[in-house]
């Protein structure tokens, strides 16, 4: 149903020079989902993110549910930013936080507090709820919680994958005023997930990995160099 979705025709060629500028706004976190081919795609992104990158990234990558994951080791070896597995109730920290196998990961804010720009009050929550669209962790569960907790101050990214997880979640982020980016289906090793996300959310950016990475770096600069008064990270 989405094979001829017009949005993907806007996907720029590998040079990316001719595409419209990617949208920028101050955000407090990037949430990212990837499935088949996703580890390789994340390695490409991580290799290009500088150590100075402080915007928290929370990622769901579909991996086998029944054994411990080596993702932290594999991705951490290539990354200049911190890479860790999500722990329940931990603060949202700079670096890449990955959902553990067989748990959903959600964002939440402390009880009695409402979210303030800067994400100092945002925590991770793990859940053992039923599989969602055959997935646990589910990209949709993470994205929907991010839309609810962060509203417009989040960017959602959907990369390569062979299923449709992430499509409703990315739509929720868009509906809450957040920013959305999807890997060009033509570049993705598995195009079904990007195509579903494009059809569902009409993202502001459909681009190959290197442009998505540049955009993430620009988001980080927009946030750290911006005029927002409540953006701090002490490390």
């Amino acid at each position: 149903m989405w094979n001829n979705e017009p949005a993907m025709k806007h996907a720029p060629p590998a040079s990316g020079r001719t595409s419209p500028p990617a949208p920028l706004a101050p955000v407090d976190a990037i949430v990212l989902g990837a499935s088949a081919g996703g580890v390789e795609a994340l390695l490409v992104i991580l290799a290009a993110l500088p150590a100075s990158f402080v915007l928290p990234i929370v990622a769901v990558v579909h991996i086998p549910r029944d054994r411990p994951s080596l993702l932290v080791e594999v991705l951490g070896a290539r990354a200049h930013i911190a890479v860790r597995e999500a722990e329940d109730k931990e603060m949202l920290l700079p670096g890449l936080t990955i959902a553990p196998p067989d748990y959903h990961v959600l964002l939440d804010v402390d009880r009695g507090r409402r979210h303030l720009a800067g994400a100092q009050d945002v925590r991770l929550a793990l859940a053992n709820d039923a599989l969602v669209s055959y997935c646990r962790p589910s990209i949709d569960v993470l994205f929907q919680s991010a839309a609810e907790v962060l509203g417009p101050r989040v960017a959602g990214v959907v990369l390569t994958g062979a299923n449709a997880d992430g499509a409703p979640g990315l739509r929720a982020i868009k509906a809450s005023g957040g920013l959305c980016a999807v890997q060009s289906p033509d570049e993705a090793p598995a195009r079904a997930m990007p195509e579903a996300a494009i059809a569902s959310a009409q993202p502001q950016l459909v681009a190959p990995l290197h442009r998505i990475t540049q955009w993430m770096i620009a988001l980080d600069a927009c946030r750290t160099g911006g005029t927002e008064s409540t953006i701090f990270y002490e490390r």
């Binding site: 109730k89 859940a127 053992n128 509203g151």
Partner: protein, 279 residues
Amino acid sequence: MNAGDGQSGESAFDIELTLLLEAIFQRYHCDFRGYAKSSLRRRLRQAMDRFGDASLSALQGRVLHDARALPILLDYLTVQVSEMFRDPTHFLALRRDVLPLLATYPSLKVWIAGCSTGEELYSLAIILAEAGLLDRTIVYATDVNEEALRKAEAGVYALDRVAGFSANYAKAGGTGSLSDWFTAAYNGVVFDRRLRRNVVFSDHSLSTDGDFAATHLVMCRNVLIYFDRELQDRAIALFEQSLVPRGFLALGSKENLHVSSRAPAFETFDGRERIYRKR
């Protein structure tokens, strides 16, 4: 429906969520006010669909005026997802490292807090039986969801889940065959009643109820992740009061004590398997 109003205040949905939990507490004395909001939002949206209510306020009116709605809603407020020997290495560590220490006591008390539909209870009962300890053990199996407790007591599970249970049992160091412990009938299996002969099933809330005296092992897996930090602290304090000195606390594979203010009362026994020991 979302936090799109940014910094101006809580969303209407979150306000309704707080009020719904308060209403359920005042009307029925079931306290979910300390539950983590993140996954409640998702499951209560599903409950709205189930009842056909357009808002949580409408659902609140329904549950206040119709007590029959409460048990249905409880299935959305609590999570009944479980399997036998989930995380087999955890049960292997209990079997290999913890049970030999427990075997030195003449009699044992074990508390399974949040036993849900019983998968974890039968898993633990089987390794206790295979270690020759079940006959001198009293097991308290507690949950806030009475319907789930009834299922736990029945010990009947769908046949299509048993292959997964059996594979986990083997990985958890099972000494025989899981089929030694159940009888197949129709499309289900029923677990051996000997496994629950010394089990006391009890409606118990970690939010409002007290502890069980002098337990040697408390197992509470994938329950604390659904609590906010305040309620996590309360629950861990109950476990601490409940345990004998040097008693064991077994948590879920992604739960840890270090975010709790009660952490100093425990030492880590097996960090990877999240097994702690009271100091």
